[in-house]
Structure formats: structure tokens, C-alpha cells
């Protein structure tokens, strides 16, 4: 199997994997970064969202072989002490129920707010529409994104 060097959360890491292996499984199974979740495997639910060069990306659809010279950020690397404004807002609003989808929600929200500092309600709802929360904590996600935007 080929070897790849990736920049994950600011560190250079080396992994051995088949070229077609999705980044999701490299993160989870090879690098023990299990915060990025598996939900559907077809980019429909958003549980596996990470940042690639700051852009929210479904890691289940990105092959490990095309990630040369990119910066990958996962939920584990979003902030040093879990104090990114979005993480703080998630805590303040007590968003999670089961909590499984929330890393993906947070990664989508943080990439969105980096681009749009003062979003309207409609912009928030559009930005978060791609991430499914099966517990339907949507009211709180929406509120937390608003609160986070005020903290950023």
C-alpha cells in the first residue's frame, strides 16, 4: 500500500493506505481521530465534515491520495482547548442530545462563520441545511450558530 504525508491539525503525519481510501477512514482508523463521524458514506448527512484549507468538506468523499499540500482540520484541531466560539456557543446553548452529529455540525458552522461574520437567520438555515441531526436539535443548532457569530 502506498504512503501519504498529510497535514492534519497542524502536524505532518504519515499514513499507509490504499489510494481510494476516504479521508474519513484514514482519520478514524489510522490516525485515531474519531471525532469525525461516519453517518452515510455518500455526502448526504454531514457527520464527517472537516475543513480542507478552511473549506467545510465531506471527508467520506475525499480520497487520501489527493490531499497533498492541503491543510486538514478536524474537530480535534478546531481549537486548542475546546474554546472556539462555535464550541463555546454549543456548550452555552446545550445543543446536543445524542451528540453524534455535532462534530460535523460544528465544523460546518465554523467554516461558514469564518466567511460570513454576521449571518441572517435565513443564511444560517441555508448553511446548516446539509447536516442531518436525527435527534432534531435544529432549533438549538440555529441558536448556537447565531450566538457563535456574536462571539467571533
Amino acid at each position: 500500500m502506498p504512503n501519504y504525508t498529510l497535514n492534519v491539525n497542524g502536524k505532518q503525519v504519515s499514513v499507509t493506505a490504499d489510494a481510494d481510501t476516504p479521508l474519513l477512514w484514514v482519520l478514524r482508523d489510522e490516525l485515531n481521530l474519531v471525532g469525525t463521524k461516519f453517518g452515510c458514506g455518500i455526502a448526504q448527512c454531514g457527520a464527517c465534515t472537516v475543513h480542507i484549507d478552511g473549506v467545510a468538506t465531506r471527508s467520506c468523499q475525499i480520497q487520501v491520495s489527493i490531499l497533498d499540500n492541503t491543510k486538514i482540520t478536524t474537530i480535534e484541531g478546531l481549537s486548542k482547548d475546546g474554546n472556539h466560539p462555535v464550541q463555546e456557543a454549543w456548550k452555552e446553548i446545550d445543543v446536543p442530545q445524542c451528540g453524534y452529529c455535532q462534530a460535523g455540525q460544528i465544523m460546518t458552522a465554523s467554516a461558514f462563520l469564518a466567511e460570513n461574520k454576521n449571518p441572517s437567520e435565513e443564511e444560517i438555515r441555508n448553511a446548516m441545511h446539509g447536516n442531518i441531526c436525527r435527534c432534531a436539535s435544529y432549533n438549538r443548532i440555529e441558536k448556537a450558530v447565531k450566538v457563535a457569530s456574536q462571539k467571533m
Partner: protein, 717 residues
């Protein structure tokens, strides 16, 4: 049930304390059987271990408290709310409390289940008594130290104070307290003195969730563990005939392919390799029993409704007479599809089966039942099984069934290695334990402006409404009343799905009553309130819901939703339902955008007794309402030739942010014992929305998902 129930509660039988070698005090208790007189605990304190207790409180020498939460956490918040109840009566500050998931051994442990919204309701008394008893022991130890009567001491926020104003922290007396007799009497707090119960407490796992720490079953791994992807029969009614694993074995990372029963497991060093290996398998299948389809189910259920083969579940008065003498008779039929659970965390389980023991780890709602089934399957003793529960990425009933844990155990037993079974989303959706398709036919007679007769027939696949459901509203409200159930046995696996049966029954019934209100020309809420007067002073013991509590709940939602005073261009719909011991009333408000209904807001009133953790409680109701709307509006599922026709979220539609209304939750204030919230918010939601859509479009909805009905509607062109 009143709040200060303190009768026949023998603490000696359920609680034991021990001094910890590492310092501090350990209190073991059995929270579910604690109130039952038959509960027996060992006399020998040295035998205090996880085999006899399912929950523990540890108080360190420094006064820090760790509570090992006994019940599975599927997102319903009990890992936060149950320890809050103990901490309240123990009288410590919530911020000094750490909550850990109790690790469980199957040997002799007692019932632990997450299901039916029962955790809080059943645990309330025992959890309070446990906290209060522990507090009393600490106070007694301080009294001994100061050589004063314990009644002269006060304890609050982890500090014991005597009449001179001297203070001792709990930590300073834990060693002595642990050696004292368990007292027979411990004073419970008055509701007004609660400082933790009734205050918002953030989910205890929040920091781990927002930083992505390992927490869920899918995150669990051990050194040398292999991932298993399983090929199962593609259709219900099929068995494995032949298979070829040469291509699968050639996949990088695949180490083994094992057949077990009618399934084939591909073992690999990564999840991806296991999944690839599974795709590379080729297999042929033979027919074992008849391949079924949704079309066929539809015909069969209609035939049941048209026929006479029913079990009578409740009958009052004489419906025949009521119908024959009525001014008008109305009959409607309501249809629902099968539904998969679609927990965001797909089914998975870890198993390490060795000659000495069986180690099982994963997300499971029924640890005890599952351990027993694994023992039976592998012909092992249940005390060789050590089962650990992880946090669960949703449950909704699916994780009651444990089929995935049995698969893991069977594969590990064959492979002689630690393995973890991981379902793909397609596996999860097609190898489900579905909410079965159900039809209701409801008929009512109207005479002199009143509902005089009510006849409900249920036709369901594989099961029928259980327990007290035939005695829910409107039983007791209408003099001539009959509920009957009919059934068809299918080879498709079915089971409990969040708020079983009532998740669809509530929609059918509450839509029907809305139609009756229109027919009688009375306000929809007023009709319910009028009917409830008939059940208020009932001496019928079978009636479980309370006419008074339902009335109070309905009146609260009427006030908070501005019922009947809504703005121009908005349309309201009402529904109320009692399920899982909790009364809920909802008003949905919609607007039309280009003729399409948009659900803007749902106002909810809930009577669940004392609200233990308001933020968690609201979260449950908000989620339950939106979940109920999502499935009523969008969720479709069908079978053809025994095969599920939906496999992933590209075709199967779950509700998303953009379709989500604002949910406003209000609680009825009272001091009654708390009841659960994991399910009760869901059942009324579909009915409230359907009734609002009728208010807007003049179109009654009889089939779920609504979106198909609305699309078909000529009103929308």
C-alpha cells in the same frame, strides 16, 4: 402519585457503603429495585461490587462526588438528569459532581433498559432516597465526631454545620460515615428547597462531544482489533445459497472471510477495507419464505379492516346502537408506511470472545437481555460475559434489539480475535427492525351535537398496540366505545420505534377529532375539553391518563399559542396526546408560500410532573416534535420482492434545518412525580401539522408521508 412518597422503603435492603482503599467512601445502590420489598443485598460488605449494584456514588476525602449513572444514554439526557436527583438530596453543589457511565457486569445485575421513557419515572423515588440516605450517614458521622445529636446539625452544599457554627466538609467524615449503620430514616427535601432539580444543567458529556473525544461505540477500539463488514441476505425471505470470496480476500487489508448462518463477514484491518471486501463478495441467494411487498401489505391490511377477524381490546356501551341511532356517522382510514430508525451512529458492536471470557462493548439499550442471548448463542455462562455500554448515537428503539451484538459475538467466536461489526448506512437501513406499516379505520357517531360512539380498528403488520393504549383518550370520554386490533404476520423484522404505535395512532385519532369538530361546528380545542369532562371523575381503573391534567395541559397551550387569535395569513392546528405517562398538547402554525405549506412554529404544553432539568427537558420536547413532524411529512419506506427500496439518505428523506419550525415549550407547573420525555413530544406533532394544513388548504391528510399527499393535491396544481 404524590411527591413525598416515603412508605415501606427499607434502605437496609438496597444500599451498602464501603471505605475505599484509595480513600473516600463508596455507596452502592440498586436504583430500579430499590423500592421493591423483595430487594436483597449481601450481608458481606466485602462482596460489594458491580454484580450486586448498578449504581454507585463515590465521595472522596476531598469531598468530590462521582456518580456512576446506571442507565444507557441514547440522547434522552438521563446521564445528566438521574445524577441530578441524587445530588439534590445528597445536598452537594452540582459543580463538584462528576458523572461517569456505570460499567456493567452481567452477573446478577438488575434490569437496565433505555426504553419507553421510563428511566426518570421509575428512578425518581429510589434516587432521592439514595441521596438523602447518604447525606444522613454523613450527618450521623459528624454528630458522632462532635458528640452531639444528629438532629442539631444542618447539611447543605457538601458542608455540615453544628449549632456553634463549626463546619465539616463531607470529605472529612466519609471514612466514619462508611462504617455506620445504614439509617432507617432519611428526610427528603421539600420541593421548594430544591437547588439542583429545576435548574438547567448542561449535558454532562458536552466537553467530549464538542471536542470529538472517543465516546460512542463506533469510536471504541483495542489493539489488534479487526473490523467486520457483514453481507446479509438482500431480501427478507432469502437464505444464502452459494458464495465466492476470492475477490474479497484479494482486497488489501482483508484478513479473513467467514460464513456464519446465512451471513458472510469480511474481516479487515480497517473499516474501509472491510467494506470494500464485502462489495467484492459474490453470493447467490435462495428463497426461503415468500418475498413481500408494500403493495401486498396494503391490500392485506385493507382486507383485515374490511373483515371480521379482530381482537377486542376495550368495549364500552353499545356502539351498534349508537351508530344506528346517529344523526350522522363519519368513517375515515389512515395509512402509515414502514419506517427505519436511522440512528445517526450506524449499528455496531465490539466483541472479544476467548476461552475464559466474553468482552462486549457498544451502544445497546438492553444490556442484560443481549448478554443472555449471547450466552445462549455461544453456549456459554452469562457470568463469563462482561458488557460495557457506550454513549449511543441515537436509539429510537433500534438498539433494543441487539442483533448486531450477537453478530459481533458470533464472528469473534469464529475468528478467535477481537472484532467490531460496523454497519454501513445501507446495512443499517436494509437490515432494520422497522416500525411496521399500520392502518387505522375510525368511525364515530354524532347525535344532538355530541359524539356518541367511537369505533377504532387497527390493522398492523406483526404486532398490535400494547398494554394500556386502548384505554388512552378518548376511552372514558365517549359512552359507546370499541377498540379492535387485527394482525398480519410478515417475515420482515419489525419492532419498537420511538413512541411505538402512538407515533402514528395519535396522528390518526387527533386528525379525526379535528374533523369531528368541524362537523359539529365547534372549536377543535373546545371539543376536546368538553369530552374530557366525562373522564375527570371516572372510577374506571383502566383509564391511565388524567382528564384534569390533560385539560390543564390543553388550556396552557391554548393560552401560549394565542389559539384562534393568530395573525392573518397563518393557520393553526391542534393535537393533544397522552403517552408514556406524560400529557402533551401542541399547536402547529403554518403559512403558505406559493401555495405550499411552511411550518413556522409549534407551541407545546407538557405535563411531566416535576421538571428535573429544564434545558434537557426542553431539548427532548423540541427534538421529539421536530422528529414527529419530519417523519409525518417526509419519511417514506417500501419493500419490493422482499427488498427495501430505500437504502440511504439520498432517497430516504429526513427533516433538515430549512424545514424546521421553531418549537416553543411550556411546562405545566406542579409537584407531581416526574415522568419521562424521550417519547411523549412526538405523537401529537403529526396531527397538529395535518390539522393546520387542513386549516390552510381545506385538505384532510390521511396518509403518511404528507408530502406525497400534498404533491398529489389538485389544490396545488
Amino acid at each position: 402519585m404524590k411527591l413525598h412518597k416515603n412508605d415501606n422503603f427499607s434502605r437496609r435492603n438496597f444500599l451498602k457503603t464501603s471505605v475505599l482503599a484509595s480513600g473516600g467512601m463508596l455507596i452502592g445502590f440498586n436504583f430500579l429495585t430499590a423500592c421493591k420489598p423483595e430487594a436483597k443485598m449481601p450481608v458481606d460488605i466485602a462482596s460489594l461490587n458491580f454484580n450486586d449494584f448498578n449504581a454507585f456514588i463515590k465521595i472522596s476525602d476531598e469531598g468530590y462526588v462521582t456518580i456512576f449513572s446506571p442507565n444507557p444514554e441514547i440522547g434522552q439526557g438521563v446521564k445528566t438528569s438521574m445524577p441530578m436527583i441524587i445530588a439534590e438530596e445528597l445536598d452537594v453543589e452540582w459543580k463538584t459532581v462528576t458523572v461517569a457511565q456505570g460499567i456493567l457486569d452481567t452477573k446478577n445485575y438488575t434490569r437496565q433498559v433505555a426504553g419507553g421513557s421510563q428511566s426518570i419515572r421509575q428512578g425518581w423515588d429510589a434516587l432521592r432516597q439514595t441521596g438523602a440516605t447518604a447525606k444522613q450517614m454523613l450527618v450521623n458521622a459528624a454528630a458522632k465526631k462532635w458528640n452531639v445529636d444528629a438532629t442539631t446539625l444542618k447539611a447543605s452544599k457538601g458542608i455540615i454545620t453544628n449549632e456553634k457554627g463549626e463546619k465539616l466538609g463531607y470529605g472529612a467524615v466519609v471514612k466514619e460515615a462508611a462504617l455506620l449503620e445504614v439509617p432507617e430514616k432519611a428526610q427528603l427535601k421539600e420541593t421548594k428547597d430544591f437547588t439542583i432539580i429545576g435548574q438547567d444543567a448542561i449535558n454532562v458529556d458536552i466537553d467530549k462531544i464538542i471536542t470529538g473525544e472517543p465516546l460512542f461505540g463506533l469510536d471504541y477500539k483495542t489493539e489488534g482489533m479487526l473490523y467486520a463488514s457483514v453481507l446479509r441476505p438482500p431480501a427478507f425471505g432469502q437464505k444464502l445459497d452459494t458464495y465466492d470470496d476470492a475477490k474479497a480476500k484479494a482486497v488489501n487489508g482483508v484478513s479473513d472471510v467467514l460464513k456464519f448462518g446465512d451471513k458472510i463477514a469480511v474481516l479487515a484491518s480497517s473499516t474501509w477495507a472491510a467494506m470494500k471486501g464485502k462489495k467484492a463478495l459474490s453470493a447467490t441467494w435462495k428463497t426461503d419464505s415468500k418475498a413481500e411487498s408494500t403493495e401486498k401489505h396494503d391490500k392485506i391490511l385493507n382486507k383485515i379492516l374490511d373483515g371480521k377477524d379482530f381482537d377486542v381490546r376495550r368495549e364500552d356501551g353499545n356502539i351498534k346502537k349508537a351508530f344506528s341511532t346517529a344523526d350522522k356517522v363519519i368513517e375515515r382510514t389512515y395509512n402509515s408506511p414502514f419506517l427505519p430508525h436511522n440512528c445517526m451512529e450506524p449499528m455496531n458492536f465490539y466483541a472479544d470472545v476467548t476461552a475464559d471470557k466474553i468482552h462486549l462493548v457498544g451502544p445497546i439499550q438492553t444490556p442484560q437481555w443481549t448478554a443472555n442471548r449471547v450466552a445462549k448463542l455461544l453456549e456459554r455462562k452469562v457470568d463469563e460475559i462482561h458488557l460495557e455500554m457506550t454513549r449511543m448515537g441515537g436509539g429510537f428503539g433500534r438498539r433494543l434489539y441487539g442483533d448486531f451484538a450477537l453478530e459481533a459475538a458470533e464472528i469473534s467466536n469464529l475468528a478467535k480475535k477481537p472484532i467490531k461489526v460496523v454497519f454501513s448506512r445501507e446495512d443499517d437501513m436494509t437490515a432494520g427492525t422497522y416500525r411496521p406499516a399500520i392502518k387505522y379505520r375510525i368511525k364515530a357517531s354524532l347525535k344532538d351535537g355530541k359524539v356518541t360512539g367511537y369505533h377504532l380498528k387497527e390493522a398492523a403488520v406483526n404486532g398490535n398496540m400494547y398494554g394500556l393504549i386502548p384505554n388512552f383518550f378518548p376511552a372514558g370520554c365517549i359512552p359507546n366505545y370499541k377498540v379492535e386490533t387485527g394482525n398480519y404476520k410478515s417475515n420482515i423484522t419489525t419492532g419498537a420505534w420511538r413512541a411505538p404505535y402512538t407515533n402514528f395512532l395519535a396522528f390518526a385519532e387527533q386528525s379525526f377529532f379535528d374533523e369531528l369538530a368541524t362537523e359539529l361546528n365547534v372549536d377543535a380545542i373546545q371539543l376536546r375539553l368538553d369530552l374530557l369532562q366525562n373522564v375527570k371523575n371516572t372510577d374506571d381503573k383502566r383509564i391511565e391518563y388524567s382528564g384534569q391534567r390533560m385539560e390543564d395541559t390543553i388550556k396552557l397551550v391554548r393560552e401560549k399559542s394565542n389559539w384562534g387569535k393568530n395573525a392573518e395569513g397563518t393557520y393553526q392546528g391542534f393535537a393533544a396526546y397522552y403517552s408514556h405517562n406524560t400529557h402533551v398538547a401542541e399547536v402547529a402554525e403554518i403559512e403558505l408560500k406559493d401555495g405550499i405549506p411552511v411550518i413556522k412554529k409549534v407551541t407545546v404544553a407538557v405535563d411531566c410532573g416535576v421538571v428535573v432539568n429544564p434545558t434537557g427537558a426542553k431539548n427532548q420536547v423540541e427534538g421529539g416534535v421536530i422528529d414527529g413532524i419530519g417523519h409525518a411529512m417526509y419519511a417514506d419506506f417500501s419493500f419490493k420482492d422482499g427488498k427495501p427500496e430505500y437504502k440511504n439518505f439520498d432517497k430516504y428523506r429526513l427533516i433538515r434545518m430549512g424545514e424546521t419550525p421553531k418549537v416553543e415549550v411550556h411546562f405545566v407547573q406542579n409537584n407531581l412525580s416526574p415522568t419521562g420525555l424521550g417519547e411523549p413530544g412526538l405523537p401529537p406533532a403529526g396531527g397538529a401539522v395535518a390539522n393546520a394544513i387542513n386549516a390552510a388548504l381545506g385538505k384532510r391528510l390521511y396518509n403518511q408521508p404528507f408530502v406525497n399527499e400534498i404533491k398529489k393535491s389538485s389544490i396545488l396544481g
